[in-house]
Amino acid sequence: MNIFVLLKRTFDTEEKITIAKGAINEEGAEFIINPYDEYAVEEAIQLRDNHGGEVTVVTVGNEEAEKQLRTALAMGADKAVLINTEDDLESGDQFTTAKILAEYLKDKEADIILAGNVAIDSGSGQVGPRVADLLDIPYVTTITNLEISGETVTVVRDVEGDSETIETKLPVLVTAQQGLNEPRYPSLPGIMKAKKKPLEELELDDLDLDEDDVEAKTKVVEIFLPPTKEAGRVLEGELDAQVKELVNLLHKEAKVI
């Protein structure tokens, strides 16, 4: 089976967020594989182990994403591809990223493409379905279970807590929801092996794309932090009195009851 994973390097949102020069300050920040993409990588590895074939992990980004790609290789993916836009593009949006990924994938004869359902930083959840549409293949989002038998794909999809069982056929693109699996940690031998696994680097030129083909359709005009909340009030005194005070505050001060 020819398996592809779309992987995004993201800012670890557990970190404190600050703004510098109108942008999120990345100085010294921790970067990780987008957590939902870890589920995608894990599922891809399991699919390969059960059905044979090869797992290729693909990222649109810059050189710094090599680290996350190596981690995916250490988990067990076979190959990695970095589409480096550093020299070609100054800005981009979901249209840009999806177009680049689809252009790369169009002649790869993928049987299945796995993505995360959402990236935790810019968080739109658009890239997976957009790529599927550009490749003219079906997609199923927020999946929590996946079974493949021959050409038939059966997935369970999380729909605001309800679960839908959906049947479709290969080739397909799916996006991973939490609960799909438990992603493995890279093992030490895995990390050693990953160093020798192929990591191909491409640029827009290699995909016959021009800047104009992928020009963003949207633009960020401002980034800001939410107004710093006044430190919350932790009530004190006898529990009875605290509860009375709370109800009173909700009624009179906050006016929500």
Binding site: G123, S124, P129, G161, D162, T168, K217, V243, A254, V256
Partner: protein, 325 residues
């Protein structure tokens, strides 16, 4: 010059979800003196069109087909694109719901346009339609505009206030025919989870429990408090994983994103993934026995204590308040 804006009315279990009316309000802002056209897709949805008009739409367009009885991305995309082709809107709005999230990127791709997902506000500033959306798990916000092509956005439920309903409003309801065919995904089964009463994403009051609730029975006092306040019960991932409650109650990055007026977090530590789903709530109350719990950092009011003592006391206190009122 006003714009023509289409807004999708999302139907669930035979009724329009509130986010549809919020969409109409957002559409009115974008349209200025233009036209707001509601779109309804389904097998029998025409009767709901008038509600969208009462909520502020000028007219409604309906695509009815047996194959649209349940949602599929192919079926709904074909229907919606037929409407877009006929109406040629300058802006399109969906709710940022499971359906909206799944369908909107496909439509945007088909139209070759941008898409602003999960907007919590929209303003028209100097001729630009500016959307505000949370980023970085809700720790920051960005303002975004569409620079090329159709203006397309999904809006987060419970953030943009709907307009006052006006029952005297009238408008044309017309049908568009679309050929719904070659559906590549088939829904075999839908397992509905027991969510009775108030829809979490639309609730004004949410009482949420975490691992600290300790058991299924532990949720009973929370339910009582929620019922009393006309709200709904929610949960953290921790509580769902421990099987104290169903996953349909989960709030957070993986679960529902909620913006109630009042969020009462009981026995929830306040992990970033949980905060991503509720930190925009207007007022947050935290009840936790650990004074260091992260949830206190986002709470407006906190009580350090045992939820099994505090919640019943709250029920009593609210009861006497409600009696007085």
């Amino acid at each position: 010059m006003g714009k023509k804006v289409t807004v999708l009315g999302e139907v669930r279990d035979g009724a329009l979800r509130n986010v549809s009316f919020e969409g109409v309000a957002a559409a009115r802002k974008i349209a200025e003196d233009g036209e707001v056209v509601a779109v309804l897709l389904g097998s029998a949805v025409k009767d709901l069109a008038q509600e969208m008009i009462v909520a502020g739409a000028d007219r409604a367009v309906v695509v009815e087909d047996e194959k649209l009885a349940g949602y599929t991305s192919d079926g709904y995309a074909q229907a919606l694109l037929a409407v877009v082709e006929q109406e040629n809107p300058e802006a399109i709005l969906f709710g940022h719901t499971a359906l909206g999230k799944d369908l909107s990127p496909k439509i945007a791709s088909k139209l070759g346009c941008g898409l602003v997902s999960d907007a919590v506000n929209v303003e028209v500033e100097g001729g630009n339609v500016v959307f505000t959306r949370p980023i970085y798990s809700g720790k920051a916000f960005e303002k975004k505009i569409v620079t090329d092509g159709v203006i397309f956005a999904t809006i987060r439920p419970n953030n943009i206030p709907p307009l006052e309903k006006d029952a005297s409003r009238t408008g044309e309801v017309s049908e568009v025919s679309a050929e719904i065919k070659d559906l590549r995904t088939i829904v075999r089964e839908v397992a509905k989870k027991a969510t009775q009463g108030v829809d979490l994403s639309e609730a004004k009051v949410i009482v949420a429990g975490g691992r600290g609730v300790k058991s299924e029975e532990g949720f009973e006092p929370l339910q009582e408090l929620a019922n009393l306040l006309g709200g709904a019960v929610g949960a953290s991932r921790g509580a769902c994983d421990a099987e104290y409650c169903d996953y349909s109650l989960q709030i957070g990055q993986t679960g529902k994103v909620v913006t109630p007026d009042l969020y009462i977090a009981c026995g929830i530590s306040g992990a970033i993934q949980h905060l991503a789903g509720m930190s925009n709530s207007k007022v947050i109350v935290a009840i936790n026995k650990d004074p260091e719990a992260n949830i206190f950092k986002v709470a407006d009011y906190g009580i350090v204590g045992d939820l099994f003592e505090v919640v019943p006391l709250l029920v009593e206190e609210f009861k006497s308040l409600l009696v007085k009122a």
